[in-house]
């Protein structure tokens, strides 16, 4: 038989990363862009991408320094064993929260728009079970199914993005630069940056997945292009949203993209794009959630050093379910989400930067002695 591969190539990583960034980051980005930056929100996508570049560079550079090892495995080599345990635990907690939040977003959208009479917990449980099933196929299975659907998803995403410009008014995005010193001083922009970086949080998953990449020399290019494409598509919808309703108008909706989908028709056949967009967004979000779920389970497996990720999937199932259900309450969400994005910014942006600087200061070991695929 042809050799079984447990690695993923650059093509599969490209599609996995695209789904993770787009499937997770799309939903709230336009709201945050309008809320914190007003008309200047149209530059939100560019800001997100600029913030993601160092993170992606650190993912690949640490991946090259510690080949075949995930963050959980190379942490003890960068810091000492005890801090490594603490940092590893914090990182895993963040991955669990990311999985929960990703699940929560899509469940709430379906509950609100399509299944209002179905209890939220049922929808959430159903989606979680499918993520649980997808995760059982491992990173290879997840990335393969992502790759298979990629073309179809991209076509509909492009269709949605282009169609969303139907009622675009140029006046709503003018002036294109409207920064005020007052907002800068009171920290509104900083807060906005942290909230917009929500789109970049899926990069946390890459620290666990990167060791599976078979051709590491293409790693950075692959991650930059896939993240860039996802952010570009998000950016285009941010612009169309602000262009249609204005920056204040966007804030009247909980889920601006859904309103856009409901009001926008596919040219000629006059079908709302909602019919196509919702399943596509659901699929992308499912893959994003599954990759986070896998990264968490794999991380737990490496953290505790016992059993493989399949066992931890079962342990994580109730934890994710109940944590997600607990955050259903709107008040809880509003109060917790600010902390969550701040926590995410710390774990995905500041912490890797810190680790990378320490790794730079330490003498580099030979690649051959460190080789070994994580199991």
């Amino acid at each position: 038989m042809l050799n079984e591969k447990t690695a993923i190539g650059p093509g599969l990583l490209f599609m996995l990363n695209f789904s993770a960034v787009y499937g997770y980051g799309f939903f709230l980005s336009m709201y945050f862009a309008a809320k914190y930056f007003g008309v200047n929100g149209i530059w939100g996508g560019i800001l997100i991408f600029i913030l993601m570049i160092p993170v992606l560079y650190i993912v690949t550079d640490l991946g090259h320094r510690f080949p075949g090892k995930s963050i959980i495995r190379y942490l003890p080599e960068i810091t000492n064993a005890f801090p490594a345990k603490i940092i590893g635990f914090v990182y895993l907690v963040f991955l669990v929260l990311l999985t929960c939040w990703s699940l929560n977003i899509i469940s709430r959208i379906f509950n609100l728009y399509l299944l209002p009479r179905t209890p939220f917990q049922v929808i959430l449980g159903l989606i979680l079970l499918i993520e649980f099933y997808i995760t059982s196929k491992g990173i290879e299975g997840i990335s393969r199914v992502t790759a298979f659907i990629f073309i179809f998803c991209l076509i509909f995403v492009l269709l949605f993005t282009v169609s969303s410009y139907q009622n675009f008014q140029l006046d709503n995005v003018l002036p294109i630069f409207d920064f005020t010193l007052k907002d800068l001083k009171n920290g509104k922009y900083f807060e906005g940056i942290i909230h917009l970086f929500n789109v970049g949080l899926p990069s946390a998953m890459l620290f666990m997945v990167y060791p599976y990449l078979s051709e590491r020399r293409k790693g950075l290019k692959t991650l930059l292009v896939s993240s860039g494409l996802a952010v570009l598509l998000i950016e285009m919808v941010i612009i169309s949203n602000i262009g249609i309703w204005g920056s204040k108008g966007v804030l009247q909706f909980d889920w601006p993209f859904m309103e856009l989908g409901k009001q926008t028709n596919i040219p000629v056949i006059l079908q709302t794009v909602g019919l196509f967009v919702l399943p596509i967004m659901l699929i992308q979000n499912l893959f994003a959630g599954s990759s986070f779920y896998f990264a968490t389970a794999q991380g737990c497996s490496e953290f505790f050093g016992k059993y493989n990720y399949r066992i931890y999937r079962w342990f994580l199932l109730p934890i994710i379910f109940f944590t997600s259900v607990w955050t259903t309450n709107a008040v809880v969400i509003r109060s917790l989400f600010n902390y969550f994005v701040a926590f995410g910014f710390g774990v995905v942006f500041i912490l890797p930067l810190f680790l990378w600087l320490i790794a730079l200061m330490r003498p580099e070991k030979t690649a051959g002695s460190e080789r070994g695929q994580s199991k």
Binding site: L2, I130, I134, K137, R144
Partner: protein
């Protein structure tokens, strides 16, 4: 214990201890025809179709015995080419035993061999050979003059084409091998025979191009075939189930075909073909999901037309699988997602229907499935009339009486007919069942359920492999050239390479042979 059998069923549990097979030991030939004949009859009983022909010398003493099964061997050919020259030879002999060397010289047949083992001789006999015992000789001659009834070469009923070869496989392995050999006249075409089935002793041939097929795949095919332990193989379907990578899946991981040109094309791509005696269906491995949407005809027609038909098949399958689920989702759960004018039309057709839409759709589907099954069994002279009359009348009356809405019948018919665009029966049947799964998921949770069920099916497919090749190849993992070939029928003058998804030894297919070797050498 019982589950162990299901999950690890290489070894079959038997209720009674297996009796010793009657034809496994070695038993030498006695050298006296009559004694050998009696021993043989003791082992095989006295079959009704066994013909025993004693040949005597000029002193009326039987010195040779020819026996064969009249149901398998040609009596006329044997009489002409064996009995007559032997009688002529023996009529000159004077009492002593016939000389085997002289006898061999007068035997005229395509296949003649000798054995010294009586049990092996019996195996030859039941395969259709004639046995010739000679007095004083410790070996028995086996002569092949096949005379069993065989089907003529016909156009395969499941894979008809407008343009292309009209040849289909028959039920005889020898004929089928000949059909493939006529397509590929290359000494590198390897044909390796295995005998599988303790009692049926079925010939199974493995065909591949020695310098093209991936040796790992060839080795794995032979290994899996060698592991099969079963009393009988009656069709290639037995082999298919035994060698498949994932036994519990709905989707075919081995391609079946009745067309020799398709087998030849597969072999040329670097795949391995398995032909089974008494089965007109050849097997091709490895296979990706894409292969089931390609027909031989695609490659014979203009490439634009081929591309159009190929895309059409994909759309047809998508419609067939998702349309009923989407219809039920929109009617029953998420009407908000469809244009109001469409919803009005659908709703107005259902005003008198007394049951929920899911029951209505299921009812029509089940009736349609019953029709489909019945039409296969009904004699061909009346099935057209009964099928059309039954279908039209019942459809019309059901709609008029208000039991079923018109749009539902339209959806079911479109969905059922679209399913036949899949160019493979096994794959079509797999999608047929998936359709019901999506239908129920859509009825339960609308578009959410439909999407989740669809993702589940695709995830399952993504985890499948056929002899190590990803079932969703060439999309996952993405192989750019093969992906283009999956959607478009690439013109032959641009088809430089064999599909790399099968990882053949030689990838080049256009240009002079040896160019790739030269490149590799550089």
């Amino acid at each position: 214990m019982i589950f162990e059998r299901f999950f690890n069923n290489y070894r079959k549990m038997t209720r009674f201890p297996k009796v010793k097979n009657t034809v496994v030991d070695h038993q030498p030939i006695n050298g006296d025809c009559e004694v050998d004949l009696r021993t043989l009859l003791g082992l095989v009983g006295n079959p009704a179709d066994l013909v025993i022909h004693r040949m005597e010398n000029n002193q009326n003493k039987a010195v040779a015995v020819l026996l064969y099964l009249s149901s398998l061997a040609s009596g006329i050919d044997l009489a002409t080419h064996i009995v007559e020259p032997l009688n002529y030879l023996l009529s000159d002999s004077t009492g002593k035993n016939p000389d085997p060397g002289q006898v061999r010289r007068v035997l005229v047949a395509a296949q003649i061999s000798a054995t010294t083992d009586l049990h092996q001789a019996i195996e030859y006999l039941i395969r259709g050979n004639a046995l010739l015992f000679l007095n004083g000789s410790s070996q028995v001659w086996t002569v092949a003059f096949p005379g069993f009834p065989r089907r003529q070469i016909e156009e395969p009923p499941t894979e008809r084409v407008v343009r292309g070869s009209r040849e289909g496989f028959t039920d005889v392995l020898g004929d089928n091998l000949g059909l493939v050999r006529r397509w590929i006249r290359d000494p590198n075409l390897r044909v390796e025979l295995q005998i599988i089935g303790e009692r049926t002793k079925t010939d199974v041939a493995v065909l591949y191009l020695n310098d093209v097929a991936n040796p790992d795949v060839v080795r794995e095919v032979k290994k899996r075939l060698g592991k099969i332990r079963i009393d009988g193989i009656l069709d290639s379907g037995y082999i298919l189930e035994m060698i498949t990578d994932q036994r519990w899946t709905l989707f075919p991981l081995v391609q079946e075909t009745e067309r020799p040109d398709k087998v030849a094309a597969g072999i040329l791509e670097g795949r391995v073909a398995i032909l089974v005696d008494k089965s007109p269906f050849a097997l091709l491995v490895p296979v990706t999901s894409t292969e089931f949407y390609q027909t031989s005809e695609d490659f014979y027609l203009n490439y634009w037309v081929g591309t159009f038909i190929r895309v059409l098949r994909g759309i047809g399958t998508f419609i067939s699988v998702t349309l009923p689920g989407l219809y039920v989702s929109i009617i029953a759960v998420n009407p908000i997602l469809a244009p109001s004018s469409l919803i009005q039309i659908l709703a107005s057709g259902r005003t008198q229907v007394p049951v929920p839409v899911i029951f209505e759709v299921l009812l029509v589907f089940i009736i349609f499935e019953i029709f489909r099954e019945a039409v296969i069994r009904i004699p061909s002279s009346v099935n057209m009339i009964l099928g059309i009359a039954g279908g039209v009348l019942i459809g019309l009356l059901a709609t008029q009486s208000g039991l079923v809405a018109g749009p539902t019948i339209i959806i079911v018919i479109i969905s059922s007919l679209s399913s036949f665009t899949t160019a493979n029966t096994s794959k079509e049947q797999a999608w047929r069942l998936v359709r019901y799964f999506l239908l129920l998921a859509g009825a339960g949770f609308g578009v959410l359920g439909l999407t989740l069920a669809g993702v589940m099916v695709l995830t399952h497919m993504a985890s499948l492999k056929s002899f190590g090749v990803s079932y969703l190849g060439p999309w996952a993992p993405p192989l750019a050239l093969d992906m283009i070939d999956a959607y478009f029928r690439i013109p032959w003058w641009l088809s430089y390479r064999r599909p790399s998804v099968y990882r053949p030894q030689q990838e080049d297919r256009l240009g002079d042979s040896g160019e790739e070797d030269a490149r590799n050498a550089e």
